[in-house]
Symmetry: C2
Subunit: 356 residues, 2 copies
């Protein structure tokens, strides 16, 4: 882990966001593996199944955010490591349950867990990751003391609540066939559903692990909130524009699953009445009844529209990314330069330019 070992060393000549992410991921996975009980008899292979998703190729963005913020603020890697592992477990638990809920076919270039082992085992593997995530939060006591561990636990409790509320919001829209939504509805849902657990909490916990003052924790929350929304809109665009090889899940997966995306909602507000009715009729079918021609038609409606819906999404994503960059600069205006700070800075550009 050369990139992460020293806290304030000279930046290497060739800083790469990918290798920074890879280093963080390796550390987080090692920490997750350390959490697995050594006596795993009578567990029927549960822990191998639990590692299935985490070991598939992935960015492990959440651990990296937590670690980078902690190190950028002068904290130690050991202070962030247990929480980073907990975030990765929590994230993967949500992926497994999400895949069940959406009946997705592919995740990270391979069949989803419930498609491999059935819904019962997949639901339980998700629960198991949530259960295992409690252990590193206890380990925080040794590294950060009771007070520090408690502050971090509070963030996790809030995060868990926001995530399930956001998920419910989306599921209720799907169930209610709600297709008349504004950008602000979308932003609220995304903020709760993925913003809290993917961005806000990892960043705030990283700051708490470094012992940062409350004002810094809040300011970093603003950075993370805005970054998360930019990230999600970019994710929406990728699902419309990327190939399966690039995105690691079903190409056009969001359309197959009838997911709420910013470009889709914009298209529904702005295309002709005929196209809107066509789109809503396709989206209102249960997933199993949405076939290839229907999904292609939906794709044509969203990406057509004179390109206005894609342009709108790009513009909105860029606006959130700019806010994010400003919030980050505010925090680090007086902080020493480091590769960790550089990672956070480049991440904003990476999110808006990424192709996977």
């Amino acid at each position: 882990m050369p990139a992460l070992a020293p806290r304030t060393k000279q930046e290497p000549a060739t800083f790469s966001i990918d290798s920074y992410l890879a280093d963080c991921r390796k550390l987080a996975l090692t920490e997750i593996e350390r959490q697995i009980p050594t006596d795993a008899r009578h567990t029927a292979g549960l822990y191998e199944l639990m590692l299935d998703y985490p070991l598939r190729p992935a960015k492990a963005l959440r651990p990296a955010l937590c670690m980078a913020v902690c190190l950028a603020l002068g904290g130690h890697m050991e202070a962030a490591l247990p929480s980073a592992a907990a975030f990765e477990l929590f994230h993967n638990a949500f992926l497994v349950h999400d895949d069940v809920e959406d009946d997705s076919l592919l995740r990270r270039h391979a069949p989803t867990l419930h498609r491999k082992y059935g819904v019962p085992i997949a639901v339980n593997v998700g629960d198991s990751m949530l259960a295992l995530a409690l252990q590193p939060l206890l380990d925080n006591v040794e590294v950060l003391g009771l007070g520090g561990a408690l502050r971090i636990f509070k963030v996790f409790a809030r995060m868990a609540r926001e995530s399930v509320e956001g998920q419910m919001l989306e599921l209720a829209w799907i169930r209610g066939k709600r297709w008349d939504l504004r950008d602000r509805d979308y932003v609220r849902m995304v903020h709760k559903k993925t913003g809290w657990y993917s961005f806000i909490s990892p960043v705030q916990v990283g700051a708490l692990a470094a012992g940062a003052p409350a004002a810094t924790v809040s300011a970093l929350g603003r950075f993370a909130l805005t970054l998360g929304i930019a990230f999600q809109i970019k994710d929406d665009l990728l699902s419309l524009e990327g190939t399966e090889a690039e995105i690691g899940k079903d190409a056009l997966g969001d359309l197959w699953e009838g997911k709420y995306t910013l470009p889709l909602l914009h298209a529904l507000r702005t295309v002709s009445d005929t196209e809107r009715q066509q789109a809503v009729s396709i989206l209102s079918r249960p997933r199993g009844e949405r076939d290839e021609p229907a999904v292609r038609r939906l794709h044509a409606i969203v990406t057509g529209n004179d390109g206005a819906s894609l342009r709108h999404a790009r513009t909105v994503a860029d606006r959130w990314a700019q806010r994010s960059r400003r919030a980050l600069d505010d925090v680090f205006v007086a902080a020493p330069d480091s590769i960790h700070r550089r990672f956070l800075h480049e991440l904003v550009g990476f999110v808006t330019q990424r192709s996977s």
Copy 2:
């Protein structure tokens, strides 16, 4: 809550285990409702769904165990209350996910959550209850201090792990069509799957909330472990012998679902080869393909067998209940008498005699 208000008042002339349970349940539900965010806008009715199972008629045994142990050891109700609410939330989360995993039709005299609202919402409601259960564990800090809250959190972390391991054990047996199991395999699975979260943890947390010494916590763990196994075997017998009105879920539900029960496993070991082959062939079908005549045939095989399998299960349950009673007496040999102690004592008899 007349029965619970004073700690050591004279026993009322008519002590009833049912009214003791009802009092505890009322307190636990109030505490759960207190945990629900007051600003529940933009949550799409999630919290009403979360209360669906807890508000259905139920014993709420876990909160009662936690409270009774705490009070019997001289602790205060307020010290046990947050944990009691967390146990009830955790239990209901597991019921919701279990019902998805087993595709059960009825729970507590009404359709299961996923049958009412679909699998996606049910999985998320289960996750939501797990998320909300973190909050009372934080509240413990105010009542018990950081150290006390931490000791209880440790029990919850272990409990969550044991539960998902036990669940995996059972799901792996189902998937592997394992029907050649001994009583000790069954006991190990039950110990992990329900023993930890239904008995051992509530009792140990109750003791910790009362500030009991480690030796008392351990001894109460033995009481709870043995009681839990007796309880589960009695549950197995009820599913074979009870009517739907009595047990609140599908009559013969365990056979419909192909659940591992002590009487079934005994029958498979002792009936004729022909009957065993018939039974295994029925059990090996996916649930959807097990029809009424098949389930009736299975029922006849298990309850037939000259009554030997039912007798065996009753004998084994009684043996565990006796151990439980002895363990309880050891703990309370020198403690003052109280309705809480009486509740625990009568619970052992109740478990082996209960009809619902």
